[in-house]
Subunit: 206 residues, 2 copies
């Protein structure tokens, strides 16, 4: 499989999933500002008309987009990793976390705060949403190691999003269970490796 | 199962899924502005601390939230309905649609436009996102009956969101495949029944 990614963008979660599975994948870097592939300036909109990463190219040549769909697909390719429970309420709860992270954190809070074209009024509107959502996350993570009872793709996704907190000036310290969780996840080998590799690419791009 | 819903909110998609399955469910109306149950003013935040619908109460008494998780759970309870392909790339593509609808349409465009507390600057920021997303939807729906090769939960969800277009002054006519799709979906018996029932409750609430 091929993963179209941008350094430290939400596609990082899929890289983490591949590393957890100890699986081979080809990583194709995208400049999402200019909407081109980094290596040859080829048009990225031809790969995804929405201009977003991640895009996963499956072995049949077709493409799959949307982080929650890509993560579930990768997890299901490697069931031995237990990155996604196989069915029933346990699976539904990981999907609930994917939904929460994707809609309430990623899109409602972090995307506008990261967007250089968003005005102060837009950023303030997003900032007003932080407390309810991080209070909820705090209540759910208190006393827990992971979102589910073991590491799943929801943890890969949540860590990827929390990793934007510094860039968006979101101070996690009022939510100690969230801050501790994030610090703990950064030490996990798959995540440490993925973050340090993409950080290097990110700095090179800048 | 019990579905906590608000009239014409995104929980409508789950009602449609139940109607497609010809399945019994208990529908509990929520006033999401006051965060109470309509019937007895009981505190809805005790059911969902985020104050959002849908909430599905499973037969074991636990609750499930997040539209994409709830819809997949219901679809998988009734596999004979084919509301969700059972696995592989076909399932992944429906999840891709759920992700797109949930993040790009529901959260990025429609929620701020529906929010009476969002300023004109916030609404303008969301309105700027419409064209790219509806252009994409137009390109994908042209010549197609459904998002996948038959009716799925992604259609239930998309119809529910498009149903907010009038309230948000989004004119679909520049995207005729989208407008035609929406008009066609409204005629589908499960959707016609769900929309007319919730419309009545919506008007009563007002």
């Amino acid at each position: 499989m091929q993963l179209y990614f941008a350094p430290l963008a939400c596609s990082l979660a899929t890289r983490i999933a591949f590393y957890e599975a100890d699986a081979k994948a080809e990583y194709i870097q995208v400049d999402t500002k200019r909407k081109v592939l980094t290596k040859d300036n080829a048009d990225f909109n031809a790969v995804n008309p929405l201009g977003q990463v991640p895009v996963l190219r499956l072995d049949d040549g077709s493409t799959l987009t949307e982080n929650t769909a890509v993560l579930q697909y990768v997890a299901e390719c490697f069931p031995q990793t237990r990155l996604m429970p196989a069915g029933g309420p346990a699976q539904a709860r990981v999907r609930q976390w994917l939904g929460f992270i994707g809609t309430e954190l990623h899109k409602a809070v972090y995307v506008p705060l990261l967007d250089s074209k968003a005005s102060d009024a837009v950023k303030a509107y997003s900032r007003d949403k932080i407390k309810l959502r991080l209070d909820f996350l705090q209540s759910q993570l208190a006393g827990r190691q992971y979102l589910a009872d073991h590491f799943t793709i929801a943890d890969a996704y949540l860590t990827t999003i929390l990793n934007w907190s510094r860039a968006t000036s979101i101070d996690l310290s009022p939510w100690p269970a969230v801050a501790d969780y994030y610090a703990r996840m950064l030490k996990r080998p798959s995540i440490a490796k993925a973050v340090s590799e993409e950080y290097e690419l990110y700095m090179k791009e800048k």
